[in-house]
Subunit: 394 residues, 2 copies
C-alpha cells in the first residue's frame, strides 16, 4: 500500500512518456555499463522497435553506442549491445572529508576515469574551493561534462544545497560550497549539486554496490563523526529539510561524554574515531591511526583489543536500535567504521542479537561497502548524473 | 532525487491510464468527502470532458454521486459537486487493543456509520474472533462492503498479514487473524487486511487528519507498549518484513529496567503505561488509570506530578533521538501518550531542544491526533479501501 500524496494524478502526455522511456533506458545502461537490446526489451517491457528507436535517439545524442556482442555461443543472430559513452560523457565528483579532499572524473556508467587527492586545508570549508578548482581544471577532458557532485561530511539543506553545519570541517555554517564552485568554473560546470557523504555512499551502493536491488538498508558512515544514509521501501530517508540520518547524535548513553553538538552521550562519542584512538592510547589522528589500532589489536595488543571491543559493543548497541526502527535487510559499515566493524564483528552481532527484536533483525546482513572508499565519489557522480538520467535529451 | 529501483520502466497502456485516472479521481473524492468538478479538473490536470467521463463511470458503478452545489454566491454556472456514496460503499474497521476491541462500519469518504466495543477477552488474540464476528453481523448494512481492515498492537508481517508477536495480546505468535475472520464471514468480507495500529493511525492522520499534506512525520502510539507509524518523504517506513517502527524497543537507558522483549532499558520501559502508573502509585491499569494520574497531576498531586514529569522527560529524550534520525516536520502523540504528552509538553519540548540538533528540530511541530482515538478505526478502514481506490471498477 502506498501513501496517497505522491501519486501521479493525471496521465502523462506522449512527450512525457518518451522522456520517461529514454530516461529508463539510459538508466539501465548507466547502471549496468552495457546491456543487450534483448535485455532492455524485457526489462522495460517495451517492444523491439520502440527500444530500437529510443536507442537510436540516445546514440545520436552521443550518450550510448551500439556494437555487436562478443561470441555468445548461442545460435541465432545475437542482440546488439548498448554501451554507455563513458569516455566522453562524464561528471566531476568531489569528496570533502575530515582528512582529505578527493576529486575524480567519472564517466557515464560509473567509470572512474581520473582521480586526485590532497590533505584538507585547515580552516573553513570555503578554503577547499581553491584546490578543488585546480584539480578540476587539471583533469578537464574531451567530451561533455554534465556537472559536479559534492559529498560533504556535514548537514546539507535540501532546498539549496547549503552546508548547514559541519563541526569537523572547521565549523562551517551555511557555506554555499556548490554556488562558489559553480561561480569559479561556469564554463566547465553546467550544474553543481551537494549532499551528505553518508547519503551519497548509500546512493552509490544502491546503484552499483552491495545494496543493489535492496529496498531497505542503512549505510553507516563514520570518521570523527557518524552519520547514516538510509533507504526505506526503496526511497531515501532525508527528512523535511534534508537533515535526516543524523544517527551519530542519537543519545545512547545518558551518562556519557559531552558531544560537540552540545548534548552528551551521543552515539558518535562512543564509536567515533576520537574515542577509539583515546581508548587505544594512540597519539595519532585520522583514518591511518584507526587502521593502526585495528592492526595492533589483530597482533594481540591488549589495550588496542579492549578499545576495539568497547567501541564494537557500542556500535552493535546503536545498530540494534536502528534495526528496531527500520527493520532493514542490510547494514553497511563505511568510512573508518569499515575497519572498526571488521575488527569487532563478533561484538556487533552479539549486541544486535541481544538487543534487537528477533523479528526486526531476522534477515539483517551486516556488510562492508562493495565500492570501498570510492563510494563517496561514485555517489557524488550519481548526484551529478541525475538530471541527465531524468531527461536525457534536454 | 529519487532512487532508481521503483521507477516505472515502460510507459502505461491506455487501460492502465484510465484505471490510474479513475483511482486518482475516486481518491480525491474519498479524501475530501466531496469535491467540485472544477477542483477535480485543476487537481488532476485533466480536461473537463475527461473528468466528466470518469465521473460518469464512477457514478454508474455506484461509487459517487453528483449534485448541484449549495449557493456559491459567485456568478456563472456552478460546478457540479461529486460526493462519495458513503452510506452504500463501506468497510468494516477493527481495532484490537490491550483494553478493548472496537469494530466500526465506515463509509467511503471516511464516514463513521456505526461503532461497537467491548473489553478485550483475556487470552490469545484468537479469542477476539468471536466478538468481532458478532459485531460485524450486527452492523451489516445495505450496499456494498469492500472488506475489513484490522489494527493490532503487535508486529504484522507484511507478506501475509500474520500477527507475529504481541506480548500484550496474550503473547500471540503467528496468529492468522485476517484469515480466521475471512473464513468466518466469507460472504460479508471479500478481503481482510491487517496492520500495526501505529502505522494505521499514521495513515489515517495522513489521509484526513493533522498530517494531511505532510511528507515527513512520526505518529507515536503508546499504551502498555510503544510503537511508531513513520512517514518519510511521503512514503511509509515499514521495513523489509513489515516490522519497522518498533521505537518502543530503542534502548534509551542502558542501565534501565528489564523489558518484556528480553532486553533492558527499552524506551517503553520508561514511557509505557505500567511505568507511569507505578511511579504514580496507582493500583489501577489501563487508559482510564492513565487519565486519572494526569488528572491528579493537574490538581496538584505531587506524586502524580513527579511521575508525569519523569515520563515526560523520557518521552522527550526518545523523541529527540527520532528527530535526529528522521528530521520530521511533525510528531503526533496518540493512544495514552496523547494525555501523557499534554500533561508534560514542557518537559518533552525542553528535552527535545537540549538533545536534538538545531537543524533537525527546527521545524518540528508536536501535536495530538486530529482524529483522536478514532484514528485506529479510520486507518483500518483506509487499509480496506486501498484495493478499491487502486482500481475502482475491478
Amino acid at each position: 500500500m502506498s501513501t496517497n500524496r505522491n501519486m501521479r494524478a493525471g496521465a502523462p502526455s506522449q512527450e512525457e512518456i518518451r522522456r520517461q522511456n529514454l530516461g529508463a533506458l539510459l538508466r539501465f545502461v548507466h547502471e549496468r555499463g552495457q546491456i543487450s537490446r534483448a535485455e532492455l526489451t524485457s526489462e522495460l517491457g517495451l517492444n523491439r522497435s520502440t527500444i530500437g528507436a529510443l536507442t537510436a535517439d540516445l546514440t545520436e545524442a552521443g550518450l550510448v553506442t551500439e556494437e555487436a556482442p562478443r561470441e555468445t555461443g548461442r545460435a541465432g543472430r545475437p542482440s546488439l549491445v548498448v554501451r554507455a559513452m563513458s569516455e566522453s560523457i562524464y561528471a566531476y565528483a568531489v569528496s570533502v572529508e575530515v582528512d582529505q579532499i578527493r576529486v575524480a572524473r567519472i564517466g557515464l556508467g560509473g567509470v572512474l576515469l581520473d582521480q586526485r587527492s590532497i590533505p584538507r586545508p585547515r580552516g573553513s570549508i570555503a578554503g577547499t574551493i581553491d584546490p578543488i578548482t585546480t584539480f578540476i581544471k587539471q583533469m578537464a577532458g574531451e567530451g561533455r561534462c554534465v556537472g559536479a557532485g559534492i559529498a560533504v561530511c556535514g548537514m546539507v539543506r535540501r532546498e539549496d544545497g547549503m552546508v548547514h553545519l559541519s563541526p569537523y570541517l572547521g565549523g562551517a555554517v551555511d557555506e554555499p560550497i556548490a554556488d562558489s564552485l559553480r561561480e569559479r568554473l561556469p564554463e566547465l560546470l553546467p550544474q553543481v549539486a551537494v549532499a551528505n557523504v553518508a547519503d551519497l555512499c548509500a546512493l552509490a551502493e544502491h546503484t552499483r554496490g552491495v545494496a543493489a536491488g535492496c529496498d531497505n538498508f542503512i549505510y553507516m558512515y563514520g570518521d570523527v563523526g557518524v552519520g547514516a544514509g538510509i533507504v526505506a521501501g526503496g526511497h531515501r530517508v532525508t527528512g523535511h529539510g534534508g537533515y535526516g540520518g543524523e544517527v551519530g547524535h542519537m543519545v545512547v548513553n545518558p551518562v556519557g561524554r559531552p558531544c560537540g553538538c552540545g548534548s552528551k552521550g551521543c552515539w558518535e562519542t562512543e564509536i567515533g574515531e576520537h574515542t577509539l584512538l583515546k581508548l587505544a592510547q594512540s597519539t595519532d589522528i585520522g583514518a591511518q591511526a584507526v587502521l593502526a589500532v585495528v592492526d595492533r589489536a589483530s597482533r594481540g595488543d591488549h589495550i588496542a583489543q579492549a578499545a576495539v571491543r568497547q567501541v564494537g559493543d557500542w556500535l552493535g548497541f546503536g545498530v540494534a536500535n536502528l534495526v528496531n526502527i527500520f527493520n532493514p535487510e542490510l547494514v553497511i559499515f563505511g568510512g573508518t567504521l569499515r575497519d572498526v566493524y571488521l575488527a569487532s564483528a563478533a561484538q556487533v552481532r552479539s549486541k544486535l542479537n541481544s538487543i534487537a527484536l528477533a523479528a526486526t533483525r531476522e534477515h539483517v546482513r551486516l556488510r562492508t561497502p562493495a565500492l570501498g572508499s570510492d563510494g563517496a565519489l561514485i555517489g557524488a557522480a550519481e548526484l551529478a548524473f541525475q538530471q541527465l538520467l531524468n531527461d536525457p535529451l534536454a
